[in-house]
Symmetry: D2
Subunit: 338 residues, 4 copies
């Protein structure tokens, strides 16, 4: 941490800052510049809130140097991690893994039909919501455990890994009993009790970035899970909220190489929520693979006109098959497989 | 809802849209313009996801007309609501109510000292976190029930209403047993299970706006609580995330008159999180009152240099007393009392 | 500037950074921490682009310490500046100065009528566009010099100072011949040729913040003007672009105390563009004054239904008179005059 | 345009709105819904400011239906446009065209060296700034006409098309005399006088999106140019300003398919400004091509440590050659050529 003193800070004020730094168990180095004096505080105290220093007389600002996350970082583990979501099926290695399916589980038959279609096109996982976080209390909230059962049954018939959202601590056990991967939705990225709960069970977790979370906050949310003992965390970018209005969310794909630079965790991209419009999804699938994503998670529905949710952003199985073909060639162009 | 057809939409496509509109239980009116045909769908189906229509052949876009919230709106209740937080103490009427206190409950004595100071300066409530949602898993997470006890004890001694955060469904009962107002933090604004849980108990709820929530999403979160039977919801603006870097959050005060225009719920402002810097807090307290806020919630600490959290944005009791004096005059200038 | 080295940076890489720092004329101090080595580069080279260092082997990131602006800062001039816009009429001292008028100059009679109304309510200046930067090439672009003449005539009759926008370098002389204050619009905040041109003439300049400009960029734009010799710069906040949709722009009032903290220049607020809706303007006028603004610039029209532009955000002379009364009391509450 | 009336709007208010709509030369259709009455105003009056209607009694809001741009839209011209930047060299067809070079023209020899390198790797154009819009008045502002001469000379030797920025109306003629493509920088996207000036000369224009411009504003800026007679406009996405801090700008690649959906103009992407960090540039080059971009514009420098500007985001000729190889394969994967 660097403490930047005000231009006219007194020697007493600098001395007081040095004392406060020492109280925290850090050592201090004072550098007197031409315009400013700065106090460099050396040592690793990531959990300690140091912001109060800003409120100290003579201090202009505080500049942190160390990233606040640790076990999610590349410094702790230099090799990229792979997460096994089903026996022999991994996300994070050379293969680009695609998970696809409806927004909401609506019926067993419909789910199976879509699952078979996406599997035929090369998907390794099936997505589908049994518990749905809906912005409006009046919207359909999902089939609950019945939906989980359908998902498990379709896994038996297709071999696809099941990725489904868990929204509440008291449902973690139930969802983990059916699913292969527990998804934490964007709205719950900073629901710390939930993060701890999924960290305390054994199934892999797909953690979606909150729609206005910084990468630091995103990796600290992963750190909440990992610090409970569960290292099988997959990061998922699903778009951020910006001033843009032609999309439901702005999909910032530079996050893919950046996350892979600073963290060892695998990174997947959700171009469905990341755009909100079926007509933009295929281009963003291709771009995400080209940017180096380890996987995609895509909403597919065979009758979008009667989807109970997210109809606008669901692509058809035909469109899905086509984009999978393109993505496979792009993966190959950068030395990967899909 | 207005369905805007593409420039070259065929009559068959328009007909198909009319059918889909009717399937939803809405009636349709077709208007043929010079450049576009639009289908107006008449009726109130707020809970039904209509986005799929965008994916229908010939459709360019969907324009919603009705706000998706209902019982939180001024249409349902034209008079502003008042929320009684302690017998005889209300937020939402002519009085501007100020809640102040430390970010985190640290000790009984410290809490009492701060409580007495803010009460002397005119506060009606005491804030203080017993359960803290911390961005980092390594940060101090609060004293838990011990902190709640301190809060309740200080209420006995000062008469201040207690406002404290609840982060988890399984802690709602415990927090409600000690607190006067249950605070839902910004990170949990779309934690729907938690919203439902606080809606099912009787204590008033202070709902903080998520840092990138639209007003619609904010009011729908309030609607989640109210729809469970608890009408005592206080809305709290605490700043949004934007590109600005000189503040922790950007405090958009136009939200105050806008929320009061579209909703009957009282609106309070948190200038501490809304700026992140003690030196900006007094000006934003004054501005919030001038903008018409029904209350303020302010972080006050008598030793910010040793605050365990949010030291940078805590003001001292002296600064608090001074700004209360200014705010009282401003309240008077616009026909209110503080 | 602080150069943060990567965790495994070699001594050679640190040495190379020291050399590059010296090549720039700065002196270097190396601090070896527990997790990182940092090189502190001491000296004031604000105009030199140092970003390339980030591309140097072993470097993780660059952290600037000095603000890049200088003559606009409080360090250079500790007392707040006042700008005289007409003989004896100043913006920036104890008085809060209000400039009001139509978006566009439409006719001499209409302008005079509005001018007399706003003067009667306490305005010291008249705004009105003769050259209009319109988002669409098909919109009315203003009366040009004819509009300037009307403004000058109305000044003769009312004594109000004239504030009007200049959009092009080749019109600076013409606008300066008629106006008292040259306004640089938000879209032109980084039109550097225009900034230099208004810096080379003698009339005061009201510089509007670009809708996504950081405060650093804003003050550097002011610095462009001042560095040409014209110190009479008034900063104007008119709202920023965020994800919010219920307003045309988000008005971040914390900018007022922050700008006054880091700069000596006077700060005015434009609540008309800052909200975009007449029904939000009065509350934001009041809030801006309470936040410490040195002035307001407000769109007023006596027949908004027939305004050629910005009808939605123009308030009537009656509403203006009412809000002026409230603002006068608020000014008094904080020891100022309006 | 749809005028949504308030829930309790009176018949007189609806009637008044109908009259105002007719005054504008539009015809009105009234639809009485269950919760709202709406007035649909039919007709094409894109240049007329209709916002004032919002200020009319009984009106809740105005919803525009038609996009405000016209000649830049796909409705006016359904086939994608190609822009010829040098005899036989086009941007916008099957080929993906890459323009590369230094941020700033620094010397003839350096420029030639870089030009030969990027040409060898497949570039069709050379970028390089002679007039530089610098955020700080103290930064190097470019070599001016001398820089233009170097660019023209290097074109003679390499055959590369020259793309360079023009910042001022009075320099348009000079820059057009040397360059093949006139670039309008992001900061000048709404400098309407400059847009008109480049629209009145014959050279193609590369228009960069402003860092917080909506797509509508972007296309209206293009419309300013085209409406002056110059149809050779290339749109360039260079990143937008959001809350993200790990990048200089957030690169929203969904803009590529969206712009191509609503407009016929070619779209290129600038991954250098779009990220700000050399280590993120290659991934974003690949992603942009995969998303369907018609071209790329990339900063390349053979000695980034001594680049006078943008050193952090310049890639080396070696890195450029490598990413060109990958992009060529990706182009092929989606049926294009590079």
């Amino acid at each position: 941490m660097i403490v930047v003193m005000k231009p006219k800070a007194t020697p007493q004020q600098v001395e007081h800052v040095k004392q406060l730094v020492q109280e925290m168990g850090l050592t201090s180095h004072v550098i007197v510049g031409t315009e400013r004096t700065v106090v460099a505080a050396v040592g690793d105290k990531r959990g300690v809130d140091k912001s109060f220093l800003e409120n100290t007389e003579g201090v202009e600002k505080i500049v942190p140097i160390l990233a606040p996350y640790k076990i999610a970082s590349r410094e702790t583990k230099t090799e990229p991690s792979e997460v096994e979501i089903r026996p022999g099926v991994r996300i994070g290695g050379k293969n680009v893994g695609v998970v696809a399916g409806p927004c909401t589980v609506e019926s067993r038959d419909g789910l199976l039909r879509i699952a078979e279609a996406v599997k035929a096109a090369g998907a390794i996982g099936l997505r589908g919501g049994a518990f749905k976080p809906r912005t409006s209390p009046y919207s359909f909230q999902g089939l609950g455990e019945e939906g989980l059962k359908y998902l498990a049954e379709v896994r038996e018939q297709t071999g696809l890994a099941i990725v489904t959202e868990v929204m509440a601590v008291d449902k973690v056990e139930m969802v983990a009993a059916y699913a292969d991967v527990l998804q934490i939705g964007a709205r719950n990225m900073q629901n710390y009790n939930l993060l701890q709960a999924v960290g305390q069970q054994g199934k892999p977790v797909m953690l979606k970035r909150g729609m206005s979370a910084t990468l630091e906050e995103f990796l600290l949310a992963a750190e909440y899970i990992i610090s409970q003992g569960n290292r099988n965390v997959i990061l998922c970018e699903r778009g951020i909220r910006t001033f843009e209005q032609y999309v439901r969310n702005t999909l910032p794909l530079a996050v893919v190489p950046e996350l892979k630079r600073v963290s060892h965790l695998p990174v997947v991209v959700d171009p469905s929520h990341g755009t909100g419009h079926a007509y933009l999804v295929p281009a963003m699938c291709r771009a995400a693979v080209a940017a180096g994503a380890d996987g995609l998670i895509i909403e597919v529905h065979d009758d979008p006109e009667h989807a109970v949710s997210d109809g606008a952003q669901s692509i058809t199985p035909e469109a899905f098959a086509e984009v999978m073909g393109e993505c496979a060639k792009i993966a190959q162009a950068i030395g990967r497989l899909l």
